[in-house]
């Protein structure tokens, strides 16, 4: 897996709370090749039913081209387990997500795709979104090693992340390979379980 170390980039603010994974990639685009899904990111938020861009959606506004960071509201990417919600954003260059909270499954799926979900306090996230709306194209800098986010206003915030997840991202660890290193422990577990839960 590609490592994640630092990222300095244009960020897009998305204000809706509970923005679910059906909004990130609608179900009708699933079950198809990954490269065919790239254009489906935020599809129904970006386009009206007749295909015209919705001017109110931030990705259709001037100044946000080349964005690599999303700054969202609480419970971002809740809902379905579709990993496509991560991959479709990654394939559109978006690799870091800042929000007060995330859907649990999306949060886990990020780490499988060299993407970083960052939890910050809700008031601060709202402040960052307001700054991004006020100055489209403003940049944010994320440094995973020091666990810091430098906002568009220059203020630095520290974020918490599990050291396991942090190390895996920094080194680009392949989780399956990591687990295979514990083969002896897995085999021992299976032997013990065969004794205790023989009916399985």
């Amino acid at each position: 897996m590609e490592p994640f170390t630092t990222l300095e980039a244009v960020a897009i603010p998305i204000d809706q709370p509970n923005l679910d994974t059906d909004q990130i990639i609608p179900a009708r685009f699933l079950g198809k090749p990954r490269d065919s899904q790239v254009k489906a990111v935020f599809h129904d938020l970006r386009y009206a039913p007749d295909g015209t861009p919705r001017p109110e959606f931030v990705m259709n506004q001037k100044g946000f081209a080349g964005a690599r960071i999303v700054v969202a509201e609480r419970n971002f990417a809740c809902g379905s387990s579709r990993e496509n919600a991560v991959t479709v954003m990654v394939d559109n260059g978006l690799r870091a997500f800042i929000a007060p909270s995330f859907g649990d499954i999306f949060f886990n799926n990020c780490f499988q795709n060299a993407a970083l979900p960052v939890r910050l306090e809700a008031g601060r996230v709202a402040e960052i979104r307001a700054a991004l709306h006020a100055a489209p194209g403003a940049r944010i800098r994320i440094d995973l090693a020091s666990q810091t986010v430098v906002g568009p206003d220059g203020r630095t915030d520290r974020f918490e992340i599990d050291s396991f997840r942090k190390d895996c991202l920094l080194k680009g660890v392949d989780e399956v390979n990591l687990t295979l290193g514990y083969e002896a422990e897995i085999a021992a577990f299976e032997t013990k379980q065969r004794g205790e839960m023989s009916w399985l």
Partner: protein, 467 residues
């Protein structure tokens, strides 16, 4: 005296393969359910030139992409979707995973099939590449949804890296009124704690109202744990659970059954076990529920009115309520019972079991659907049972369509979607924008309430149609 442990804690500890110093655990997975969307996991495994570590722990059934009006793969119009339903056959044949295929009466929605076959059992860890895997916790298992990378990880190693979630208890005490069902209970819980109310937690549902539910009802409650943000939902195994499992094809038999039951009796939370969070609801105060907005937390008693955004506590909430009302095409202050419905869907992993179909049929019997209405049974066996009881005749006589098992209109991946602006009373789990098709307005209700809407053409307090 030994420390008191929660049910979640006991099951977790029993499945620890490695506890790392950094707080991460390599957790053993006892059961892996697969569906037609699991093809991505098999593809990743193939790329790595790996085989499934424990094909004997895998169970597969196609559900997301199968048609509800045909059992023929050739009839699936989208070639990519057709290929996914074909691949489950090839992948399971090559790997040795048990398959309940199209044409087999055991085929159905993975979360209906697992418990029905006795694959889901108390005390187990169970995963599936689907967020509604929380359903299986109804039998006292630790069950949660994962993405396709983790699906491949389980296929390769039978384990997952996890940080231990927190434990939350939701207690519902008292008696449910007639016409109030498990679906109303879980909608009331989500309305109370919010759609992010249980993020980072495993929920244990407790209390006399939960204990009084059948396994089917408990499956409905646990199913929507994810809509409350929960990692998983669980109900302690009891006599109801054990009699449900006895004799099911993959349940233990003979001496193994006795050994398993003895173990299952040890699983419930110890008296005095503490939870990180505790929430209580009064069962008697729960009424039939309807969602009005685009999040499952937007649920109200059927006796209520469409809310006023001006009553919102802050401007952000007001804006999001207004957006939801605009999408839903609703006017604040309208009594819910005066909202007309265009279409009805009874089905999904939330509400497609025999008890759900019986509850709906009871309301429909002797009446006529005045709007297009579908029933999609959760599995071939549910459908067969319903037909043996004559429920299909009740539905058909009322003008309902009686369709073939699968996820169908809950997620619309198989093409079962509504039209823009259509208002659907749906027994599914998500009222997200566009969930049942672009522009479609989904209202979540119980099977009885869906049936009431079908025969009246608007939301109706089902209690008035019963008895």
């Amino acid at each position: 005296m030994a420390a008191a442990h929660t049910m979640f804690e006991k099951i977790w500890q029993r499945h620890v393969v490695v506890d790392r110093d950094d707080g991460y655990t390599l957790l053993y997975i006892d059961r892996h359910l697969m569906h037609d969307g699991s093809a991505a996991g098999f593809a990743r495994l193939r790329e790595r030139k790996m085989k499934l570590r424990r094909p004997d722990r895998g169970f597969a059934t196609p559900d997301h992409y199968v048609l509800s009006n045909s059992r023929s793969i050739a009839d699936i119009p989208d070639p990519h979707h057709r290929r996914l339903v074909e691949q489950i056959r090839q992948n399971t044949a090559e790997s040795g995973v048990t398959l309940f295929d199209l044409g087999d009466e055991r085929q159905g929605i993975a979360h209906v099939v697992g418990p029905e076959q006795g694959v889901t059992q108390p005390g187990l860890t169970l995963v599936c590449g689907d967020s509604h895997t929380s359903t299986h916790g109804a039998l006292g298992a630790l069950a949660f949804g994962i993405g396709s990378s983790e699906v491949a990880h389980v296929m390769a190693t039978q384990c997952l890296w996890q940080r231990k979630p927190k434990a939350m208890r939701v207690t519902v005490d008292g008696a449910l009124a007639a016409g109030v069902t498990a679906k109303d209970v879980i909608l009331a819980i989500i309305a109370k704690i919010g759609t992010a109310g249980a993020v980072g937690h495993v929920i244990e549902y407790a209390g006399s109202a939960i204990r009084g539910l059948s396994v089917e009802g408990r499956l409905t409650v646990c199913n929507m744990s994810i809509e409350a943000g929960g990692r998983a939902g669980m109900v302690a195994p009891d006599d109801t659970t054990i009699s449900y499992l006895e004799g099911r094809p993959f349940a233990p038999k003979g001496a193994a059954w006795d050994k398993a039951v003895a173990f299952w009796r040890t699983i419930p939370s110890d008296a005095g076990a503490t939870f990180d969070r505790d929430v209580s609801l009064d069962a008697a105060a729960i009424t039939p529920m309807v969602t009005w907005g685009t999040s499952p937390e937007d649920a109200l008693p059927i006796t209520g009115r469409i809310p006023e955004p001006s009553s919102a506590p802050d401007s952000a909430k007001k804006d999001s309520m207004q957006r939801a009302l605009d999408y839903m095409g609703l006017v604040p202050g309208t009594p819910l019972e005066q909202v007309p419905v265009d279409r009805v869907f009874i089905g999904s992993c939330t509400n497609s079991r025999i008890e759900d179909l019986r509850a709906a049929a009871k309301v429909v019997d002797g009446r006529k659907a005045v709007i297009p209405s579908w029933v999609v049974a959760g599995s071939g066996l549910v459908k067969k049972q319903a037909e043996a009881e004559g429920l299909d005749k009740v539905f058909r006589a009322a003008g309902f369509e009686w369709r073939e098992p699968g996820c169908s209109m809950c997620v619309g991946m198989n093409g079962d979607t509504g039209k823009p602006q259509q208002r659907i009373a749906s027994t599914s789990n998500r009222n997200f924008i566009g969930r049942q098709g672009p522009g479609v307005r989904t209202h979540l209700v119980s099977p009885a309430m869906a049936a009431a809407a079908a025969v009246t053409g608007h939301f109706t307090d089902v209690r008035r149609l019963l008895g």
